[in-house]
Amino acid sequence: MRPEPRLIEVRKNVLKRNDVIARSLRDCFRAAGVFVVSLVSSPGSGKTAILEKTLTLLRANYQVAALVGDLATENDALRLARSQAPVKQITTGTLCHLEAAMVRSALEEWDLNQLDFLFIENVGNLVCPSSYDLGEDLRLVLISVTEGEDKPLKYPTIFHSADVAVVTKVDLAAAVEFSWETAYDNIQSVRPGMPVLQLSAKTGEGMEKYLALLTTRLAELRQAAAV
């Protein structure tokens, strides 16, 4: 006779494997003194444009590099290579998000000690990347003015996985009748207290404040490490 079924307690996070790798990545980043920023957004929000500008501007004073996730093409990596910074493509195939293990293997040949900033551009998707920690220090969630003000209300989860919201393509705001106040209120409604930046990769509007945020955070990180 078969014994009766019984219940055993397990209590294990389903994403434990990813979280463990992300933690070890974070330790490596800490040890190397590199500040790691990831970018998430829906497709076409301007992640690559912002990143190209970021790499170009930061390169003057810092060692920067980028990993870029894409489903199939290498177009983004080619665009970013114009900044002259080291760029590596992670082609995810049909996978809709980056996982910590992909970041780890993409970084194998790079000496993190040589870097000040590492940027990770996730696959364009406002849903799936929210579940996966990549070991980054700062996660930016981008929404462009052309997407409308209600993106935060539709995708609250990704706003909870990110640290700072960035409204992009603000040079087009008037043309698409984008209301900054409404967008700001919506972000604050799903994530009270979330810092929000406005950026235009085209005109450079807001870049100064945004870059100051990054360089301040790098300085803080190095200061904390020195104590």
């Binding site: 209590r11 389903v14 799903v190």
Partner: protein
């Protein structure tokens, strides 16, 4: 849509646990937070696919939905969240960003059957 990879992680985790204890799994009990970023319906249909060809084939996934609970700094108390679009206290209206629960994606228990050799 990342539910298939989530489902595969669940199967993998349960399989390891079952192998370690030498048991057969009838059902997996999962806690799923409203802010986990995973859609229950999609996960359930992916689970069956993920189980195929594994020792978990034929097992069930039992999902316990976990609603969001926030901490209100004004009331100094935990409050249920009434809408994912509005993170504020249901009593006093103070904006709240501290999440107490609702991000769970956790295998809590396995319903198992001891593996006993069939009597000849």
């Amino acid at each position: 849509m990342h539910e298939l990879s989530i489902a595969m992680s669940i199967v993998e985790l349960a399989e390891e646990e079952a192998e370690r204890r030498g048991v057969q799994v009838n059902a997996v009990h999962l806690k799923l937070g409203a802010l986990s970023g995973v859609v229950k319906e999609a996960l359930l249909s992916c689970y069956e696919m993920a189980c195929e060809g594994t020792p978990l084939q034929g097992s069930r996934l039992l999902v316990e939905d976990v609603s969001v609970v926030i901490f209100c700094p004004g009331c100094q108390a935990q409050r249920p969240l009434s809408s994912l679009q509005l993170f504020c206290c249901s009593e006093c209206g103070t904006p709240c960003s501290e999440i107490v629960q609702g991000k769970e994606l956790e295998v809590v228990a396995l319903e198992i059957q001891e593996c006993v050799p069939n009597p000849v």
